[in-house]
């Protein structure tokens, strides 16, 4: 039985190649870029290509280097701080809404008759295979003042004048929940189907009603799926650009939008970089939690 491992050790080259190729790719195109962003976040805009330059003096005044960051946390100009808080609020509320809709959905699919499970699951995933842009676009027609929802409400006589829904927080919540719902349902479903049904039967035999059994057994067991789902929604939602840009208005100040504007409209690469680095620092804890769970799932061999 030890023969294969000896063979492997004698010929390490293929193994190194298999590890090395994806490692190198991700290192070069995913890790190194962050290092560059980090460096540029200490520079200042310049008229050159690339439009950045270091600003320093020989006395070693550190303020000149860190002024992008001091600008982000300037208490006289709360633009950036408000954008961060706005993003966190938007992402948190959307995540909770997605969980409230997604958990019962995942639960119902996991308990559907065997053959139907795959069909229902497919129906949840299918929308995410079509374009995000188009799915968000679909909501403009529903939410705008002369859109389907307002037309319907006015036709039934529930309201006389259209309710403003576009360019509100509500529209952005709807958009994020709509776009990310599959990412909430999938990990929770994957977790729920693995549960041993005899646990619930045992609970029932011992006199627990369905609700108690659900609350005391199913919910704690599904915690990993819930956390993974929440992270898959929360983290990208914090930096979301497309949804607030299309469905939101100027009031929905979100950090992804600010980064985009700093880069594309103001052409201020250093400030955009500082915004990105700060966003990463805010997200580092949720990302670490997500990776813990993801790696556990990835490595959990049989």
């Amino acid at each position: 039985m030890s023969k294969p491992s000896v063979l492997k050790r004698l010929k390490p080259q293929p193994r190194w190649f298999v590890i090395g190729a994806p490692y190198l790719w991700m290192f070069l195109f995913f890790f190194i870029p962050f290092a560059i962003v980090f460096v540029i976040s200490f520079m200042k805009p310049a008229i050159a290509m690339p439009p950045v330059a270091f600003e320093y003096d020989l006395a070693g005044n550190i303020e000149l280097l860190t002024k992008n960051y001091t600008r982000l946390f300037d208490l006289d100009d709360l633009l950036y701080i408000n954008a961060y808080l706005g993003s966190l609020k938007m992402a948190a509320v959307s995540t909770i809404l997605a969980l409230l809709i997604g958990y019962p959905l995942a639960y119902a699919i996991a308990r559907a008759p065997g053959a139907w499970r795959q069909v229902f699951l497919m129906l949840v995933i299918l929308p995410s295979w079509t374009s995000l842009l188009i799915r968000i676009y679909a909501w403009i027609g529903l939410l705008k003042n002369n859109g389907f929802i307002n037309n319907f409400l006015m036709w039934t006589g529930l309201t006389d004048s259209p309710i403003q829904m576009m360019q509100t927080d509500f529209a952005v919540y709807i958009g994020i929940v709509y776009a990310y719902l599959p990412f909430m349902v999938l990990p929770i479903y994957t977790n729920l189907v693995k549960h041993d049904p005899t646990l619930l039967e045992a609970a029932a035999d011992l006199g627990a009603n369905r609700f108690t059994a659900f609350w005391k057994i199913t919910v704690p067991l599904s915690m990993n799926g819930v956390i993974a789902g929440c992270m898959l929604v929360f983290i990208p939602a914090v930096g979301e650009f497309v949804i607030p840009e299309i469905l939101g208005g100027p009031d929905q100040l979100m950090i992804g939008k600010v980064l985009w504007q700093e880069f594309f409209n103001n052409r201020d690469w250093p400030v955009a970089s500082a915004v990105a680095i700060t966003m990463l620092l805010v997200l580092i804890l949720p990302i670490t939690i997500f990776q813990r769970i993801q790696n556990k799932e990835l490595e959990e061999g049989k």
Partner: protein, 289 residues
């Protein structure tokens, strides 16, 4: 009472959730056949917006560009993703594995504005230092798309690698097959369905990406989502409805066909394996006294 059945409440919830997911898309398709320029006011059936769509040069060029890019991206992402999945599930522990898995899983959740900005700055720095890549265009789009899609293909492939029966690989190895042969002859055919879904996933991710593309594309390499986005920013347009309907139709068809094909292949494999086992048993029976 069977604790494993859905109540009426959970069936209702499921129906409502599916309505939430599908009604907007359904309306989108219905109103693509609206004759009126105002998308939400119905004034008669017409297919004229589809005609308009196919006359739009800019959109067609961008669509072709996006399809080409998605094809190349998906192929590279499956290769890199499969290698990464093998590393994650079959290579055991090695120095730097924690960092490796962090690099592989982080793109799954990383906000796109961060990935886009950082890749652009990398390309600019590389061009400054080595003169490559020259400007931004197809190459930079391809590298950027491959990087984030590879993370998704890794997840798809490694879940299949984990679930498959590893004793077959061990058997081949015990019979003296070198690791590469075990992989290509035994493992690859078994995980083929996952490679197909990984490829399709990477294809659609690439086809759909707007934010990262906006950062790393250059003049002359405008992708379809970029054209759609600049149009959507100006408001609803029946032409976009027509385009959306076509995309939804293609995706639905592709997924259904792929699903049915993979289901059949799987069944065939299972039958063949059962047959082989049965034959083996029969042989064993006939040779034993």
């Amino acid at each position: 009472m069977n604790a494993n059945k859905n109540t009426l409440a959970s069936w209702t919830w499921m129906a409502l959730a599916f309505a939430f997911l599908y009604v907007p898309m359904f309306l989108l398709i219905v109103y693509s056949f609206n004759e009126n320029r105002l998308v939400t006011v119905w004034s008669g059936f017409s297919t004229k917006w589809y005609g308009e769509l196919f006359k739009d040069r800019q959109m067609l060029t961008a669509a072709l560009m996006s399809l080409k890019l998605a094809f190349v991206t998906a192929t590279t992402a499956v290769i890199i993703g499969t290698m990464a999945a093998v590393v994650m599930t079959r290579m055991g522990r090695f120095r730097g594995k924690t960092f490796f898995s962090a690099l592989i899983t982080a793109p799954l959740v990383m906000p796109e504005v961060i990935t886009g900005l950082s890749l652009l700055l990398l390309f600019v720095a590389l061009e400054q230092a080595f003169g490559w890549p020259e400007g931004r265009g197809f190459t930079t789009l391809w590298i950027a798309h491959t990087t984030f899609s590879a993370a998704f293909t890794t997840v798809v492939v490694s879940s299949r690698l984990r679930e498959m029966d590893q004793s077959i690989e061990e058997a081949a190895q015990d019979l003296g097959a070198p690791p590469w042969k075990v992989f290509f002859v035994i493992t690859l055919p078994i995980i083929a369905p996952a490679l197909v879904s990984g490829w399709l996933l990477a294809f659609t991710l690439s086809l759909d990406d707007l934010v990262i593309s906006s950062f790393v594309s250059g003049p002359g390499s405008t992708t379809l989502p970029m054209v759609v986005f600049s149009s959507v920013r100006l408001g609803v347009s029946p032409k976009i409805n027509a385009l959306a309907s076509i995309i939804i139709l293609i995706v639905t068809l592709a997924i259904t066909i792929a699903g049915v094909l993979m289901y059949r292949l799987e069944k065939k494999r299972e039958r063949e394996m059962e047959q082989a086992v049965a034959e083996g048993q029969q042989q064993a029976l006939s040779t034993s006294p």
